[in-house]
C-alpha cells in the first residue's frame, strides 16, 4: 500500500498545533459572531424601515459573498486600515466573526419570530412590560429552538476556517499544505486534515446533542 504514514507522523506535532489554532479561532469567532449577530438580529426586527435597513444590508452582503473573498478583503483591506499592516490572526478572528454574525442574526431572528405572537400578547396582558415579555417569556422558548441551528453554524464555521490557509494563518489546512509541498503528495495531507476536521466536528455535534437535551 502506497500510503506514507511516516510523513504524517513527521508532521503530527505541527498539525496538532494547527488544530489548537483552529479550535481557538472558531471558539472566539462563534462567541463574537453570535454577540454581534444578536444585535444585528434585533436590528433587523426594528419597526422602522430606515432603522432596519443597514442590518438587512449587512446580512445580505455577508451571506451573499464568498467567505474566500471576505477573508482576502479583511486581511488586505480592513485590518491594514486599523492596524497599519496585515495581521493574520486578527484577520482570521474578524473575517470569521463578521461572517458568522450574519448567519447568527438570522438564527436569532427566526428563533424569536417562531414564537407565537399570542405568547407575547398574553404576557403583556398579564401586565409585563415588553422587555419583561421578551426576557422571561419569548427568549427562553426561542433559545431552545435556536440550539440546533447554532450547532450547525458552529460546525460549518469550524470547517470554513480551513479557508484561512489563504492568508497563512497557521491552522490545520495550512500545515497540510506545507506537508504537501515538501513531499509533493496529496492523499496523506488531505486525508489527515479531513480526519482531524471530522474528529473535531463529530465531538462537537456530540457535545451539542448533549446541550440540546439539557436545555
Amino acid at each position: 500500500m502506497d500510503f506514507r504514514f511516516d510523513i504524517i507522523v513527521h508532521y503530527l506535532p505541527v498539525l496538532l498545533k494547527g488544530t489548537l489554532f483552529t479550535i481557538g479561532v472558531s471558539l472566539v469567532s462563534i462567541l463574537c459572531g453570535s454577540l454581534l449577530g444578536l444585535v444585528i438580529g434585533f436590528g433587523k426586527m426594528a419597526p422602522k424601515w430606515y432603522f432596519r435597513w443597514p442590518f438587512h444590508a449587512y446580512i445580505n452582503i455577508f451571506r451573499g459573498t464568498p467567505l474566500y473573498v471576505q477573508i482576502l478583503i479583511v486581511h488586505f483591506g480592513l485590518i491594514p486600515l486599523f492596524y497599519g499592516k496585515t495581521y493574520a490572526l486578527m484577520s482570521a478572528f474578524v473575517a470569521l466573526s463578521l461572517n458568522s454574525a450574519a448567519y447568527s442574526a438570522e438564527i436569532f431572528r427566526a428563533g424569536i419570530q417562531s414564537i407565537d405572537p399570542g405568547q407575547r400578547e398574553a404576557a403583556l396582558s398579564l401586565g409585563m412590560t415588553r422587555r419583561q415579555a421578551m426576557r422571561f417569556i419569548i427568549l427562553p422558548q426561542a433559545i431552545k429552538r435556536m440550539v440546533p441551528a447554532f450547532g450547525n453554524e458552529f460546525i460549518v464555521l469550524v470547517k470554513d476556517s480551513s479557508l484561512l490557509a489563504l492568508i497563512a494563518a497557521p491552522e490545520i489546512m495550512y500545515w497540510s499544505n506545507t506537508m504537501k509541498g515538501q513531499y509533493l503528495r496529496i492523499w496523506e495531507p488531505y486525508l489527515t486534515a479531513a480526519l482531524i476536521y471530522f474528529i473535531l466536528t463529530y465531538s462537537l455535534s456530540k457535545l451539542l446533542n448533549y446541550i440540546e437535551r439539557k436545555v
Binding site: 502506497d2 505541527v14 498545533k17 499592516k85 515538501q182 513531499y183 509533493l184 486525508l191
Partner: protein, 271 residues
C-alpha cells in the same frame, strides 16, 4: 449511543481505506498505459513567466521548451492546465496524464514518489524586499517576517533556515498573495524563484522593490519533467532534452523569455 459511535467511526475508517485503495490501484497502471505514441502533459499554468494562461492559451518558457523537445523526439503531445494538485495526483497515477511540466524542482524527498527527467532549467531563489530595507542577505532574514509560496523550494529553504513551525515564516497559496503580504506590511521579505521575482519587479516599478541574489546560501536548483515511478517516457525523452540543450534551440528559447544566455554547461553537469 456506544453502538452509533462505533458505526460512525468505522464508516470514517472505511472511507479512508477506500481512498487509500483508490490511489493504490492507480499506481498499478504505473508508467503510463498509453499506446506510446501520444503523451498527455499536465501543468499548473499560474507561474508566469514559466507557464501561465493568456486568456485560454497556455504560454511560457516551459511550454516552448517542451514543444522543442517533443518536436525533437517526434512525439505527439498535449499540454493541459490542470492546476497543481490534480497534476500531482494524476501524474503519480500515470493513467490520464503521463507527465507534468510546471517548474517542478528536483528534490530527494520528491524523488521518493516521482521520477524526474534530466534537469532542464537552472533556477535559484531570490529575496525581494522594499527599497531601503536592512535585509542584505539570507542571513538577515532570521527573526524577520518572510512570505513564501507554500509547497515551493523557497518554502523548504526558509523552513530550513527559520524552522518549519516558525510563526514568522508565512506560507501562501500563491506567490501573488505572498507579494501582497509584502506590500501590506505583514512581511519584510518574499523569497521566490528568480524568474518570478524579476518579472514582478519589472511589472510593478511604482512599488519600489529590489531583488537580492544570495548565491552563497541559496544554491542552484533544477527543474525536471515529472513522471510516474518507473515511467518509460523518461528514457524516451531524456535524449531529446539533451539534444535540444546541445543544439542551441534551448538557448534560443531561453533568450526569448529571459533576454540572456543560459548557462547550459552548468545544466548539463547538474545531477
Amino acid at each position: 449511543m456506544g453502538i452509533r459511535k462505533t458505526w460512525a467511526m468505522s464508516g470514517m475508517v472505511a472511507l479512508l481505506v477506500l481512498a487509500i485503495a483508490g490511489c493504490g490501484s492507480g499506481n498499478n497502471a504505473e508508467g503510463g498505459s498509453s499506446d506510446g505514441k501520444s503523451l498527455k502533459i499536465a501543468t499548473d499554468a499560474s507561474y508566469a513567466p514559466m507557464e501561465y494562461m493568456d486568456t485560454d492559451t497556455i504560454k511560457g518558457f516551459d511550454i516552448d521548451f517542451i514543444k522543442a523537445v517533443m518536436e525533437e523526439a517526434g512525439v505527439d503531445y498535449t499540454v493541459t492546465n490542470t492546476g497543481w494538485d490534480t497534476m500531482l495526483t494524476s501524474v503519480k497515477q500515470g493513467t490520464e496524464y503521463q507527465a507534468g511540466v510546471s517548474s517542478v524542482s528536483i528534490t530527494d524527498e520528491r524523488k521518493e514518489t516521482y521520477d524526474y527527467s534530466i534537469p532542464y532549467f537552472e533556477s535559484t531563489n531570490m529575496i525581494m524586499v522594499k527599497e531601503g530595507s536592512e535585509i542584505k542577505s539570507s542571513l538577515d532574514l532570521k527573526g524577520k517576517k518572510v512570505a513564501v509560496q507554500a509547497a515551493t523550494t523557497a518554502d523548504e529553504l526558509m523552513s530550513g533556515i527559520m524552522g518549519v513551525d516558525n510563526g514568522n515564516l508565512k506560507r501562501f497559496d500563491s506567490n501573488a498573495v505572498a507579494l501582497m503580504e509584502l506590500n501590506g506590511g505583514g512581511a519584510d521579505a518574499v523569497v521566490a524563484d528568480i524568474a518570478i521575482v524579476n518579472e514582478y519587479i519589472k511589472n510593478n516599478p511604482k512599488e519600489k522593490l529590489t531583488g537580492i541574489i544570495d548565491k552563497e546560501n541559496f544554491g542552484s536548483e533544477y527543474y525536471g519533467i515529472l513522471y510516474p515511478k518507473g515511467s518509460e517516457w523518461k528514457e524516451k525523452l531524456d535524449p531529446a532534452i539533451k539534444k535540444v540543450i546541445e543544439n542551441g534551440k534551448y538557448a534560443e528559447i531561453y533568450k526569448e523569455w529571459f533576454g540572456e544566455e543560459p548557462d547550459t554547461a552548468a545544466l548539463m553537469n547538474a545531477k
